[in-house]
Amino acid sequence: MRKLFSLAAVLLLVAGTAHAQLTIEIIGGGANQIPVAVLPFVGETILPQSITEIVEQDLTRSARFRTIFVGGVNPLPSEIAQVSFADWKSRLADALVIGQAQRLPDGRFEVRFRLLDVPKQAQIGGVAYTLTAAQVRLTAHKIADFIYEKLTGERGVFSTRIAYVVKQGATYELRVADADGQNAQSILKSQEPIMSPAWSPEGTRMAYVSFQNKKPILFVQNLSASKQPAPVANYRGSNSAPAWAPDGKQLAAVLTRDGTSQIYLMNADGGNLRRLTTSSAIDTEPFFTPDGQSIYFTSDRGGSPQIYRMAASGGDPARVTFDGDYNVSPRVSPDGKTLAYISRISGRFQLMAMDLESRQVQALTDGLRDESPSFAPNGRIILYASDNDNRGVLAAVSSDGRFKQRLGIQAADIREPSWGPFMGN
């Protein structure tokens, strides 16, 4: 099954930020999709864009829901007493979303909605939001998160953000966008390569590597700051592969100041530098476990690049991958149970998932050049870099491998995705 789901048309109407748009293509479908009907909110035409359209798109894109056709309902209900449950039962909807939008005297808007259980003919929950015109998208994503959580029991990621690097011509740009790829903002533009963006755990800072001084140098930038700060690591040789400790105070990174690429720990400002690995081999790509106790990393100490695990304070590492001669880019799922990584199999670079308890490995993709996996904060989706007709695109796969999405920008290479954390409400 292959559905094409393009946001481009919607965006032509919205015409928000002037950036090239990400379009999303969904391949395959999830099992046991929950049938949901999202009715247009009464009075929502006063908003600069349709809030229920965004909610519907979010739910569809997650592949956990099937949205039911809602045409021909007149008048639209905004309260539970106005709902004809028999009608929605016959349309095979399990859940129904109704709501209304109003303009407040101060020029802001109020949007209230209710999520209803159709078989039980009861309200599951409801929220009222006060918002400005600029917050319609964010509010829609929050409504979708609410619905997702109530109906699946897991936290939604629609209101989280992603970071990625775009190469267009000779220009590199680090961007942050909504999880659906919209509302992109530029964090840094450079004529030299940018790579390895990594969100701080609280989502307000970004670590990245820039080649602006003709070699890799490590920066940590406050996302609200408009200026690039001083580098946190600019030692002899190369400075790369930043990874945040879960406490947000420390950063692991790879330096060559003492010889080959080795893993070091430093404060977020670069101070208090400590060396963690002491091999004569390549040690790189550190990634903390969610409890902060261990670090997974890539090393060629055994003759080929493989994944190892060590204590976050350093010490003897244990080898984790054994199959094949190229296993790199370890990323641990937010629940600590799954290791996603890239494996070279017959010349193809594929995304793999290892159950850390049973050590069972599953190939999640069959791409040619899949790279840089990044878990969504709820662990359900893995975003990664892929290619399509030799152009860099972002792709996402559900952590069970069942459905995939591709996100691309026309005439640009897009790469190095990093999914941001849950943000406080």
Partner: protein, 176 residues
């Protein structure tokens, strides 16, 4: 520099042409009329080979220093034997020119992890540096850095390009 040299030559030629017609009235004092069209010596001397430039061994294709790149097999960072004479020549030059600095940039092809490729490129550059130091350079003269797969010389997605991109480049101070 090569261009500058050529333009000097060109000037000399132009001057020479302009002065070739022997229409100059013979100067009475010049007794031996053996060298009639000789241009004024001050101008004629100037275009003489600016020796410093022409004999700069870094620019001289015959000095063994004109080549600056070492290429690698997939996943590998060892310097193959065929590059020994090249590194020997550069090591010797650095030993004889202690004021010279060199940046060695390690590169990788586009396949695999970008971050691992930074480390692999660094390893390639380090291997070149190690050999240069063995050949007489000092540790502080040579800085190995990595460009990973970020600065490909060749951009097609095939082995023909990939083998060009698995490379270390030696750049002297002023060249980067």
């Amino acid at each position: 520099m090569k261009k500058a040299w050529l333009s000097v030559l060109a000037l000399a030629l132009i001057y020479g042409c302009a002065s070739t017609p022997e229409t100059k009235p013979a100067e009475p004092q010049a007794a031996p009329a053996q060298t009639p069209p000789a241009p004024p010596p001050s101008v004629g001397v100037k275009p003489l080979p600016p020796t410093a430039v022409q004999t700069d061994p870094l620019k001289d294709p015959n000095s063994g220093l004109g080549k600056r790149s070492v290429f690698y097999e997939l996943d590998k960072y060892d310097v193959r034997d065929e590059y020994r004479p090249l590194l020997q020549a550069h090591g010797k030059y650095l030993a004889e020119h202690r004021g010279s600095k060199m940046l060695v940039q390690g590169n990788c092809d586009e396949r695999g992890s970008r971050e691992y490729n930074i480390a692999l490129g660094q390893r390639r550059a380090e291997g070149v540096k190690r050999m240069l130091v063995l050949m007489g350079a000092t540790d502080s003269q040579v800085e190995p850095v990595s460009l990973g797969e970020e600065k490909p010389r060749c951009s097609e997605h095939a082995e023909g390009c990939w083998s060009q991109n698995r490379r270390s480049d030696m750049l002297y101070g002023g060249e980067y």
